[in-house]
């Protein structure tokens, strides 16, 4: 089953995927995907993200692959639904997408063995964890000014049930910018796989339903500009679309707090 969250006619709805690019509300109404506002498919708990979790990407950035998972956290301000707009600040010179398999936790667990780790998973979705490299600093890197910006982590549209993704470690990832393929990889190339990450995190902290783990991105980064349409897709999970906007458009109508 594929589940999503939308805003429609003044209310938030949990929906499931229906035929012909439609969504089904709980009361049976069918809506065209184009007439709804997509929200992140889950209300997030703690959001984890992985740095350098694909060997080819680590090489691309001239880093040695890490020996323990390089994990950082993100706040709920970062998330954005499908088909929304992400701001590229006027002073940015290098802003790149990152297509990532997102793991959504469905049960509570502490000190979970690797063999049991996938029992904790509710399902999978797709995230695009944008980074603006101009703001990189070497304190708790990647620092929050790069990775915790408002709306710089589109996610969704669907949360796909775990059992519908029998092998999460063999999924093709593809990013297209304006219909041109710019990034391709497979989750088979992760350095620390999903089960290992859950075992590692629960060795010192409790994971709870709604927690999300963004598992890193393979090589193939490229700068994106205002107006670009960025699609991040993972085979058998979903295709997430986002559009880049510049400050002029983003702040076209605004006033400071008084």
């Amino acid at each position: 089953m594929k589940r999503g969250r939308i805003a429609y006619q003044g209310a938030i709805h949990q929906v499931t995927q229906a035929a012909d690019r439609r969504v089904r509300l709980a009361d049976g109404r069918l809506l065209n995907e184009s007439e709804v506002s997509w929200l992140p498919p889950v209300v997030p708990g703690t959001i984890f993200a992985l740095g350098l979790n694909y060997a080819d990407h680590a090489r691309e950035l001239a880093f040695k692959p890490p020996e323990v998972p390089l994990i950082f956290l993100k706040g709920p301000n970062t998330l954005l639904g499908h088909c929304a707009k992400t701001r590229r600040p006027a002073d940015a010179t290098y802003m790149h997408y990152e297509c990532e398999l997102a793991v959504v936790i469905g049960k509570t667990g502490y000190q979970v063995a690797k063999a049991d780790a996938l029992d904790l998973v509710a399902g999978y979705t797709v995230a695009n964890d944008y980074a603006i490299r101009d703001y990189l600093e070497n304190y708790y890197r990647p620092n929050l000014r790069v990775k915790n910006r408002d709306g710089c982590t589109p996610i969704g549209p669907w949360l796909v049930d775990r059992d519908d993704v029998p092998n999460p470690m063999a999924l093709k990832l593809t990013t297209r910018v304006n219909d041109q393929v710019t990034q391709q990889g497979t989750t088979a190339d992760m350095i620390f796989d999903v089960a290992t990450l859950i075992e590692y995190l629960t060795s010192f902290m409790t994971l709870n339903p709604g927690d999300i783990i963004l598992t890193g991105t393979p090589e193939g980064l490229a700068d994106v500009k205002a107006g670009d349409i960025v699609e991040t897709e993972i085979e058998n999970v979903c295709n997430l679309q986002n559009t880049i906007v510049d400050d002029r458009r983003f702040f076209a109508h605004s006033e400071k707090r008084s």
């Binding site: 994990i71 950082f72 000190q111 600093e137 620092n143 000014r145």
Partner: protein, 221 residues
Amino acid sequence: MITHNVGATVYGVILNDTVSLQKIGTLDAAPYQGAPQAPALYIKPANTRAAGGATVTLPRGATTVEVGATLGLVIGSAAARLDAANALEAVCGVVLAADLSLPHASYYRPAIREKCFDGSLPISEVLPLPDLSTLVITTEIDGALVDSRSLADLIRPPAQLLADVSEFMTLAAGEVLLVGVRYQAPQAGEGSRVRLSAAGVGSLEFSIAAEKIAADTGVKS
């Protein structure tokens, strides 16, 4: 009375006081290659929250913990792109907080195991906003005074910190921004009783225990 939303995100900042900057020494060389420009932030997620009176259990393999005594600004209304001149209007109160960290001398990579283990943020209830410029927070471990810090030496005082953080991220109502912790703060060990206090604010007490017992572990529904 304001009720603190214990599920909300807590943000913190490092190297925001002159004592810590002196202690860490030169930042020109690798890996830092320069002093921080933007506030150097970290996140304490929901699982880290502990109430006053709690016993905090250290993760497997850890025997000591740094006690980063600090004050948290509790956000009362969504805060983005604030000006320092009126940034404190977005704050509805404060919390006294002990940001516990497994000792780590390097700030280069995110310190998730070190800073995000269960219970690593004992925190008071939400209290009215005091005069922050003269506030002094003391730390006692097993009855001995181990640290006394004044918020007068902050590099970015609370209003400036809020302005600089909210320049790139929105702080939501109920979220908390800790104003800074000491580099290599005093350490407590298993069995220690810790007490933070600040005149005009209140106090926060908790104790430290060894690794969790096996009955707490595994997958739960």
